[in-house]
Amino acid sequence: MPAIQIKGLTKFYGTQRGIEDVHLSVERGEVFGFIGPNGAGKSTAIRTLLGLLKPDAGSAEIQGHDVATDGVSARAKVGYLPSEIAYYPEMSSRELLEYHASLYGVLHPERRMVELAEYFELDLDRPIDDLSYGNKKKCAIIQAVLHEPEVLILDEPTGGLDPLMQHRFFDMLEALNAKGTTVFFSSHVLSEIQRMCSRAAIIRDGKITAVEDIATLLAKQMKKVRLVVHDGAAIVLPEGAQNHHASGVKHSFDYVGSTSALVSWLDKQALLDVTLSEPDLESIFMNYYQR
């Protein structure tokens, strides 16, 4: 049984598309990436999964519990880190976390709460209203993991965290994942997905355009090609070239296609220099996004 199973989930805001016919399956113990540009439907998918939005069609399960008919059981398994932090300003972090723990039926959260606060260097007794955005984010991270959930749903989790805290956050995620926690990681920071996830789904215009292993995504036949040719030499781009830029004798383009065909094409050019770079996830994402 998958940790998260989404079948045909559809949500429209009136006539405006939110998500449409989204299918996803996240295995237990997996770190699964969810990539898409702003407005693609990432947050709508997560908010529907968590029961904040009522779907127009389709269904979703978390740890085998249907989110529509058994939402309380489903959410009991989840730790959720939202992208936008809004907490009760009159509370301190300690009060908020105790309140959070009480809603999950955790009777004695103090020890773990203090451990996590020390790890993230958060002063638990300051009013939330007085905290910087980064510190509010730390409080949000602690509430997401305090009750030791089986599934973590993270929506743009590192925004506002400094590099040191991001590093600690990723270390903590790796430790939790090693103990069996499933992580659903939504982000547009592709290097984070690349670092953390074993698989990722790409969402565009409310629809899933691809679900791939990260290794497969990285191995897609896209390359960045940079050439320097003899002065006056004209080039005719190979099939599969895109985003061509030329400046005097220097040319650059992205190439999607067979490597041997590219090498054959290069062999026929009047080259002074050539550089082929490995694709980064950003390029791969843009490749999917532009399809």
């Binding site: 904040l52 009522k54 939402g71 309380v72 009991a76 989840v78 939202p82 009760y88 809603l103």
Partner: protein, 267 residues
């Protein structure tokens, strides 16, 4: 119902409750404490008031009873000020009790916890009812104490009827405010419509008493059915109207609850 959420809701509203409660209690004590001075000037006051346009006197329930007994005096102010103040507090609290989390952005925190929406609504309704009963009971006890301290020969039947009608009216307006708020965006400040609803209802009844020409206006005001002042020294609990308004209040709360269970939470 969720106990942690219920307690949180009470704590969240304690400052407002303290402020409004203090105003209501202060007003109650002030009214009762000035009664002896007015009673001493009973004849002069009656003479003064006889110069007042009779329509206005009828509208606001000012008659001989107002100056001749502490209950009559208290009743005049109970209707105009105390039920209005209590109603504005509980109705404005009720109007925002479900939408406030969305307006403040905390709905996402609350609704992603393992609590059903029904439990959230029930906990918030329970907190609202507690606040309503708290302010009502304390005001009533304060009024009893003040009347015993400053008055003599008190007709407790009139007092009881007045206070039963008072809490039903306050409960009714609170429920209607919860219902109306469920039809508008949580970002809308609902204080104005709440005040308008309660004052409007009160003045419709007052105007309808002033002259027979506009008597029909009173029929659309709940104050018409649950009078707060004795007529000829008599006021009895109108059980049928009280029951009817409570039924409407329960239906209003149920409809607002059903709407909340089905809505998309965007804040």
């Amino acid at each position: 119902m969720n106990k942690a959420l219920y307690l949180k809701e009470l704590k969240r509203n304690r400052k407002n409750a303290l402020i409004w409660g203090s105003i209501v209690l202060g007003f109650t004590l002030m009214i009762l404490s000035i009664y002896p001075s007015f009673a001493e000037m009973g004849e002069q006051m009656a003479l003064l008031m006889s110069k007042m346009p009779q329509e206005m006197a009828r509208a606001f329930g000012i008659d001989d009873e107002t100056w001749s007994s502490i209950i009559g005096f208290y009743a005049t102010y109970y209707g105009i000020y105390i039920t209005l103040l209590m109603g504005i507090f509980t109705s404005s609290t009720g109007a925002t009790i479900l939408g406030k989390e969305e307006r403040d952005g905390t709905a996402e925190f609350l609704l992603t916890r393992p609590i059903s929406r029904a439990s959230i609504v029930d906990s918030k309704y329970a907190a609202l009812l507690t606040l309503l009963l708290l302010i009502y009971v304390i005001q009533t006890l304060c009024a009893v104490g003040g009347i015993l301290a400053f008055g003599t020969a008190v007709d407790w039947d009139v007092f009881t009827a007045m206070h039963v009608h008072g809490i039903v009216l306050v409960g009714f307006f609170t429920a209607i405010s919860v219902l109306l708020a469920s039809f508008v965006s949580p970002k809308v400040n609902f204080m104005g419509p709440v005040v308008g609803l309660i004052f409007g209802s009160y003045f419709l009844d007052a105007i309808s008493k002033a002259t027979d020409a506009v008597k029909f206006l009173g029929y659309i005001s709940p104050y018409h059915y649950l009078q707060l002042q004795a007529q000829g020294g008599v006021l009895e609990v109108n059980w049928a109207a009280s029951f009817g308004l409570l039924v409407i209040a329960v239906v209003a709360l149920w409809v607002a609850r059903a709407r909340y269970l089905q809505r998309d939470i965007t804040g």
